[in-house]
């Protein structure tokens, strides 16, 4: 069901990354798209560019209730995005909502959960990038999904969290994959906030499995919809040849989840 990312995107050597301790641009930094704040998930690369990921809905032009990517408005590809730690704005070069609407996508789950945008970093900032997730390390690859009650990990640096850095590294509990594998329902042990949107999630072995798409307050605080990054990448590879070689970058730091940090 989940075609391996590597089978579609031929592996190539990763760029030379900045040391993790010194990198200004990494998973979890804030992005701002025409005033809308989100959190970057993972670093991606191909043979010529380095990208940072955010949720497609971060450039949505509708309200917070407009979450169907097949009929919700979006800023166009080419929109500039401010990236925390970068000296120059990045450029949104892929947006799953825009692509789905151009293709006339109709699959309900795909429309609801395919929520990935790629922001190409300015060449001047590529040397400031490290793909490791702060605090947790990894990612160690890409996972198809999560198991029932699997421990999961995330990191967000939203200023909407009022600078309480204790709340930046997050752990949570997944109830497993649903919606045809497109969604993972995750309960985090700290409440989510809107600025967390787009955050990346690691599974219990440090593999990237998802991107925070929806933060729910009801029925229980801490409920999150986390879209499958494997399926989002498969969609990207299958429907936009310009990005056929894009890969999610593994971290340079070992995964430390499960340890008493």
């Amino acid at each position: 069901m989940f075609a391996g990312v590597a089978s579609i995107a031929p592996a190539r050597s990763a760029p030379t990354w900045a040391p993790a301790a010194l990198a200004a641009v990494h998973p979890g930094v804030q992005t701002v798209t025409q005033g809308a704040q989100c959190t970057a998930n993972f670093v991606y690369f191909d043979s010529t560019n380095v990208y940072i990921g955010q949720a497609a809905h971060c450039s949505g032009t509708g309200g917070s209730t407009e979450t169907d990517g097949c009929n919700s408005g979006s800023l166009p590809v080419g929109t500039q995005v401010a990236v925390q730690g970068a000296s120059r704005p990045g450029t949104m070069v892929y947006n799953s909502w825009v692509t789905m609407q151009a293709l006339g996508e109709t699959d309900t789950n795909t429309c609801a959960y395919n929520d990935l945008a790629l922001v190409k970093l300015d060449p001047a900032d590529v040397g400031k990038v490290n793909p490791s997730v702060p605090r947790w390390g990894g990612p160690t690859g890409v996972a198809a999904g999560t198991g029932f009650l699997e421990q999961v990990y995330s990191y967000g640096n939203s200023s909407l969290r009022f600078g309480i850095t204790q709340l930046s590294p997050k752990t949570g509990l997944s109830l497993g994959s649903d919606s045809g594998g497109w969604n993972n329902t995750v309960y985090t042990f700290t409440p989510g906030i809107p600025g967390d949107s787009g955050s990346g999630f690691l599974n219990s072995t440090g593999q990237a499995f998802g991107i925070l798409s929806t933060v729910q307050i009801l029925p229980l605080a801490g409920a999150n919809g986390v879209g499958s990054v494997a399926l989002e990448l498969n969609y990207l590879h299958a429907h936009d040849s310009a990005f056929a070689g894009v890969q999610l970058a593994n971290g340079t730091e070992p995964f430390k989840g499960g340890l008493p940090l």
Partner: protein, 131 residues
Amino acid sequence: MPGDAAATVAAFIAGINARDIDAVSALISDDHELAVFDEAPLRGREANVEAWRGYFESFPVYFITPHRTVERDGVVAVLGHTTGSHLGLPDEEERQLTLIWVAQVVDGTLRSWRLVEDTPDSRRSLGITAP
């Protein structure tokens, strides 16, 4: 449904970690019982809400970090550690002191919240396996 009790416990822990007394209060049943290791249990919703309110005021950076969660018949066991508690230890020391919280969830609220020592016997009886 499977997972509902664990989700309720996750929300309870999220409320504690956010020092959100309203969120914690909403998940405590009227007949709630708090049992801290071998201490005498504290019974009743009102008493427990006041206890949490006082604890948040006294230990404003108290934080629960779960490592592993299991659920069986409405009983949820969480293996993890705390920081910022009444123990007054440096975080790096307190993180080494793992313990187990055991919650009984009935109709979407916690009927009990028990703190249990992390021992091989406790893990075995609660079904907590190595990650």
